[in-house]
Amino acid sequence: MKKHLAGFALYNLIVIVTVAAYAYFAGVPAYLQPEPTSCWTHLQNADKPLTFEVLGVQYDLDRKILLSRITVRWNGFGAPPRSLYVTHRTGTVEGPANTRYSSDNIVRAAFQGDRFAIIELETELEAMPLDPSANYYSEFAVSHMPNLRHGAAVAFSEPSQVLFSHGSRSMK
């Protein structure tokens, strides 16, 4: 009887050790792993206190104004900042020759107590209007500190396409 019990215990031990070794080396299959939660995302972004996504950029040819809409999320510890600094550069795919740089736009009270905000900007390009025969792309930098201070390198986003609204110049 003791031999049977010992054999059964040994069998169980072998099974458990085999399974544990498999799980350790192979890891838990990806589809059984939980989806990253917002909390995890928050921790991942701890080194990026501010993240943003450009929802759209549009140029009004009549008014010579660049409109942009950006979602911003505050991932940092503590309350969101009172002011945000947004700058952008807008050009064609042909290189920097046609690029327009904006100064820092200061957006005050963007978050209004929340950790998420949608900001909309209007930038006048009266002095250097965009050429309607070309396509333009805008890159943005959003920070809780001035972007252009001390001439430091600004981390711009990936380029976003600019939708040209030709308005009164729609017809040839």
């Binding site: 799980a23 299959p29 396409q161 609204s165 017809m171």
Partner: protein
Amino acid sequence: MKSSASIQVRAIAYVAFAAVMITGCGDTNMRESASNSNATVRLPGTANASANMAMDARLAPVALETDAHGGQLGKAGDRYAEITENPFLETLRAPLSTFSIDVDTASYANVRRFITDGQLPPKDAVRIEEMINYFDYEYPQPMGDVPFSVMTETASCPWNSQHQILKIGLQGKKVSLEQTPTANLVFLLDVSGSMNSPDKLPLLKSGLTMMVDQLKPNDRIAIVVYAGSSGLVLPSTPVSRKGDIIAALSGLEAGGSTNGGQGIELAYTVAANNFIPGGNNRVILATDGDFNVGAKSDDALVDLIEAKRKSGVFLSVLGFGRGNLNDSMMEKLSNKGNGHYAYIDSSDEARRALGTQVAGTLYTIAKDVKIQVEFNPAKVAGYRLIGYENRMLATEDFEDDKKDAGEIGAGHSVTALYEIVPAGVKVDNAGIELKYSEVREPKGAFTNEMATVKLRYKEPDQEVSKLLTIGVPDGSTDIEAASPNMKLAASVAQFGLLLRDSRYKGQAAFPSAASLARMAMGGDVQGSRGELLNLVERASKLTRNGRG
């Protein structure tokens, strides 16, 4: 203490995992099981039917019932216009692609009805653009005074590894019904004998009652019916007298043969007599499409609707029922009437088209919306527009404001997909060698751009179009890394190519379409993406079982 508990939990998990492994439930089965458990779907007419297992269990009797009817569905009286798919075009020979937008969604609901009934739809019932446009993509809202936003995305093509897909998405401005102009609506309802079926007149009455519930008190509704003869059931009545409108709807009964032509004329007369300048003046035709019109031919009917559209009265069409559906006629009428064509196959669909999306059904934010894409031959050897076959326009039509095109309703999204052959890859059915002229080489400017997308639209009350342009940079991502919207559109397109047994389907396969639909699930608040996944899986089984 805490770590010991953690070890215990892990040990139990390992033992459980071992049990699963030992009982032979392999990786693949578990994967399917895990995905199935997420797939809670809402089939038409059912409340939260969950999981494929339950659906599969119901599939057999539904299929048998359909067979017992002798293949009436789709084969008996339903009429579909023949679709000749757009071919691949070489960019050097045809750099411009021009078409009108289409916000109709009827084809998807109709395809769903077939598959739910255990039958594959006829090829010509599958209009891929309407299937793609059935889904809500929630693209970002427009800015400034432009009524819709425009965005593009490029990714690898799931059914041809050498190709790419270019997605062009438009999102109409959302408008609450309170903000819409006062409506002067005339319900033109088919009460002929063919409407005497639970999925026709009763569904029509409940759907329109839902719509009435959402309208403003000062909106007006009249009801015209047609069968053997046409008649005014309810003169134009403000929605503040909702009881009278609902009583009139409730009292409708089916009987007699159809004379749609007379009914349409009467409906337009009622609409004209109560015309609201600057308002939303619209006839809403609800029918199974059995237009056995007397003196009026189809062409005369279409001419009448075009003439009335120019007078400011638009036409929307709601299709009902099966076996007698004149799908091609209804699509044509709504196109000519500046309206939207929806197919109502269930109370869920009625709730969607006439409830949650009623603002889009009723309120046009931009009309005559045309798209023209100029491809860069330095980056694109060839292209093919997927769907929109009956919306193609000549190049010069883009600039011609007299040329009619599609409308976009409040909150509607429109998506168009191009299959792109990158430069350096051979184009399927490339053009033949030219004897008298040479194909022009690219200019060499803007070499990092794939294309420029141009759009023209008119404000609902204007006759002069406005122009929008946007560039598409070169480069695409892998479809697996693309946005959920791109995956969804690619899944639906692939599903449509398979249902059509398209000559352009390449390596398209139901498991690939299902996999993309699963990856595009996201929040899926409306349940429509889960429903797509189940339809793809059911269609795959029907194909294997040979139920064409």
